[in-house]
């Protein structure tokens, strides 16, 4: 272990003691942060696991429906049907602060295509977005009915069930994205915090303690040396005084 080399002075001792106090406080805080992060992480991971199992199963079902539809429809018609989105997906992202880890919160809604282009041209101010999100509620209820954007005449019923199945798992997909992102970011943060805690606990704090002990020992040694010297000098002075007095009396 690399040691901290400093001059053995009271000034340095004072500085080192202050550093040790800071390191101890930081260690305690980081440990608390790690524990809290871990708590949140575990609950998020459990949710993530459940969502993932559910979404994976549901997506499999949707693929089956699409496959059935593809079997009875020509690829061209199928693609054409799917390619005509009356609605375009839009996502609003808001930040969520989780122990100073900024994770995104997603809010997905469908909007008619071209609307954002008009907004972009008109300058996207806050009032406008507020008004938009207000009208989105009405639209999303509309989209749940009108999620199917193609005519029914040339398409298979399997396609309808595939699309509505996909619509049904949409909230779960978005939630999965949100939760999985949070899990990834928290895992990263926990790893970092754990490293810091360990660095403080096993390297920084012991090093400071060793340095402080070294200085204290050195200072004590100096002190003892000083005392011995004083005693020695006093001894010499006493001897000298005695011999002088003896010389006078004789």
């Amino acid at each position: 272990m690399a040691e901290i080399r400093v001059n053995p002075t009271r000034m340095e001792l004072k500085k080192l003691k202050a550093r040790l106090a800071t390191a101890r406080r930081g260690h305690k805080l980081l440990k608390d942060k790690r524990d809290e992060l871990m708590k949140q992480f575990l609950s998020i991971v459990r949710e993530n696991k459940e969502l993932r199992l559910m979404v994976e199963a549901a997506v499999g079902g949707v693929y089956d429906s699409f496959n059935e539809a593809a079997a009875v429809m020509s690829p061209a018609v199928m693609e054409e049907s799917l390619m005509l989105p009356r609605m375009e997906g839009e996502l609003t992202v808001s930040p969520r602060n989780m122990m100073s880890v900024i994770t995104p919160v997603f809010n997905f809604h469908l909007a008619p295509p071209g609307r954002d282009a008009a907004n972009g041209a008109g300058g996207n101010n806050n009032n406008k977005t507020d008004a938009d999100s207000g009208s989105d509620d009405a639209q999303s209820s509309d989209t749940s009915v009108g999620a199917i954007n193609y005519g029914f005449a040339f398409t298979s019923g399997d396609l309808d069930s595939a699309v509505s199945g996909l619509n049904a798992i949409l909230p779960d997909l978005i939630r999965l994205a949100e939760v999985e992102k949070a899990a990834q970011m928290l895992a990263d943060e926990i790893e970092k915090t754990r490293r810091r805690v360990n660095a403080l606990e096993y390297i920084m704090i012991p090093q400071l303690e060793v340095a402080i002990r070294g200085i204290v020992m050195k200072l004590d040694e100096n002190e003892r040396g000083n005392t011995t010297r004083l005693m020695k000098v006093k001894d010499m002075m006493v001897t000298k005084a005695i011999t002088e007095r003896r010389g006078r009396t004789e």
Binding site: L42, V45, E56, G60, V62, F106, D116, L173, Q184, M185
Partner: protein, 118 residues
């Protein structure tokens, strides 16, 4: 100071979008629910360029099929610690390979030290 509001806006000020990347049969259905669909070419460089473009260009969530997630895992790893985009693997048409669960387990192992908890 890190500006929160700034970081959660798209580069061009338009709303965020959701992208899906994968082979044609797997992803074409997602067009119907308003996701932007990108078919992959069977070429690592082209797909990597595509993924990077999506990640820096107004897509907050990018769903990728598991085979792409496996192939692009080095690129995806770079985005893991960023707030956006969220690159999430979904099963491809062939069904799940368990990759999504495995990567979740890896996150847990990274954070906790062992993955027995889930």
């Amino acid at each position: 100071m890190y500006d929160l509001t700034q970081s959660l806006k798209t580069p061009d000020g338009k709303p965020w979008r959701i992208a899906v990347m994968g082979d044609r049969e797997s992803v074409q259905g997602f067009m119907a629910v308003g996701f932007s669909v990108f078919e992959t070419a069977d070429d690592y460089e082209a797909d990597a360029a595509q993924l990077r473009k999506l990640a820096s260009g107004g897509y907050a969530v990018i769903f990728v099929t598991e085979d792409i997630a496996i192939r692009m895992s080095d690129i995806i790893a770079k985005y893991k610690s960023r707030t956006l985009p969220a690159i999430i693997s979904i099963p491809g048409r062939e069904g799940t390979t368990g990759y999504g669960m495995q990567s979740l387990r890896e996150s847990v192992e990274r954070a906790v030290g062992f993955a027995n908890l889930i």
